[in-house]
């Protein structure tokens, strides 16, 4: 049952040819919207002035014909057909005030918009592809010069590193950690004594961690005590005007160096 203008004729050679054309056509289309756009063009009017009703009928006739000729249409073509049938009924029947949802005009306008937008994107794509293009119309440097990457490793060491290394060698055989009455406590006085002796050699910014006594950096309890004492001693030295402290940001290493011109 087709109610379209190009309604059915008796099965004939022309029908078979039409059927074949249909197959070819469906193959050539990129989905139902593309097919609709192509049909819309046959109306030979501005897409904005298109008759959506006529278009819906044309599409439905196409689908009917395909069914009659037992051509399997992909599901999205059938979904579109159902949608257009619904649209058609909305457009043809007088609006029912009790019914919810968009009006037939809204739906038609949206379809027209979709077609116009697809058409616009087609044209935009064509314009894009017709531009002057790199490697076809304009060209990049044919003989680029290789950018050389030189990686340079710079090794550093501080005077304190040097002193500690030397002391380590000199005490290697009989080295053992300091033995204190309180095993894991490093007092601020001890730290201060130690640092007073060393500060004279700290011309460069040096992490205060480097001032921890040997053997105090492995056990966390001892490390904590030594760190606290060393930090407190550092503050004391700053107070005495013998050293400067700095820290680039929160939790960054705290660095110490001797003050070049101590007060007094």
């Amino acid at each position: 049952m087709t109610d379209a203008d190009n309604s059915s004729e008796p099965i004939s050679v022309t029908d078979r040819l039409a059927a074949e054309a249909l197959v070819v056509d469906v193959d050539g289309f990129e989905g139902p919207l593309d097919l609709l756009l192509n049909m819309a063009r046959t109306q030979k009017v501005d897409l904005r002035k298109i008759s959506v009703l006529a278009l819906a009928q044309q599409y439905l006739a196409f689908v009917e014909k395909a069914k009659a000729l037992r051509i399997e249409l992909a599901a999205d073509y059938l979904v579109m057909a159902a949608w257009l049938a619904f649209l058609k009924s909305r457009l043809l029947l007088p609006p029912d005030p009790t019914e919810e949802g968009p009006s037939g005009e809204d739906l038609a306008a949206h379809l027209a918009f979709q077609l116009e937008r697809l058409q616009a994107m087609r044209e935009a794509a064509a314009r894009l592809m017709a531009r002057d293009r790199l490697g076809r119309d304009f060209f990049a440097r044919g003989l680029p010069e290789r950018m050389e990457r030189v990686r340079k490793v710079q090794y550093t060491a501080t005077l304190l590193d040097l002193m500690q290394a030397y002391s380590r060698i000199r005490t290697r055989d009989d080295f053992r950690p300091f033995v204190m009455d309180r095993d894991s406590v490093f007092t601020m006085e001890q730290a201060l004594d130690r640092m007073r002796g060393m500060i004279g050699f700290a011309g460069q910014w040096t992490d205060i961690q480097s001032y921890l006594p040997e053997g105090w950096d492995e056990d966390p309890v001892r490390w904590r005590s030594a760190t606290a004492a060393t930090f407190a001693a550092s503050l004391e030295l700053v107070k005495e005007g013998r050293a400067e402290l700095r820290q680039s940001e929160t939790f960054a290493p705290i660095e110490l160096r001797r003050k070049e011109h101590p007060r007094d």
Partner: protein
Amino acid sequence: MTEPSADSPQRPPRDSLFEAPPMGEQERMVEAILFATAEPVTVRELESRMPHGCDPAEALAHLRKRYEGRGVHLVRVGDAWAMRTAPDLGFLMSRETVETRKLSRAAIETLAIIAYHQPVTRAEIEEIRGVSVSRGTVDQLIEMEWIRFGRRRMTPGRPVTFVVTEGFLDHFGLENARDLPGLAELRAAGLLDNRPSPLGTSHSDEDDPDAEEAGSADQSELFED
């Protein structure tokens, strides 16, 4: 490369270490770097390669003027700059022409939709074309380095978006995505709007700030660029 001679005599000797080279020299440096490279170079990279205190942006402006009307041009590609031959001389370059892979119609349309609607989700591309986008099409465009993933859309499902790349701009001779042909007209005609289908959404609330249907675009993000 003439230096203002006025400041030479009274310039303290040690300062020259930290003073930028004269603009003429900076222009030469930018010229050398851009000639040596086939890919566009950003201002930031120029700055990092040139001596301290240089102003590559100004040098680029001078250089661009110098190459106006010549056989080779200075072109802008997004945030970067490159030397390219003048398009009217393309006929001389038959030997250099690179055969680009022939793109399918689907790929070309998908590319155009991404360029004009970016950032755009796959669902939106499918809505515009009325057909599903095959994985291969997107993969091909990504492989050609013409599109890439953009930010995720802040809508349910947080779908990824696609945007075009600097390579795309370079290939099509565009300074930036705003220079796409006909963009302003399309926008004025409302053809870049993402109008949700009146059927597909149950929303009748015009001023619902956050559309809740999966796949519907939030308008604010759609047109940023």
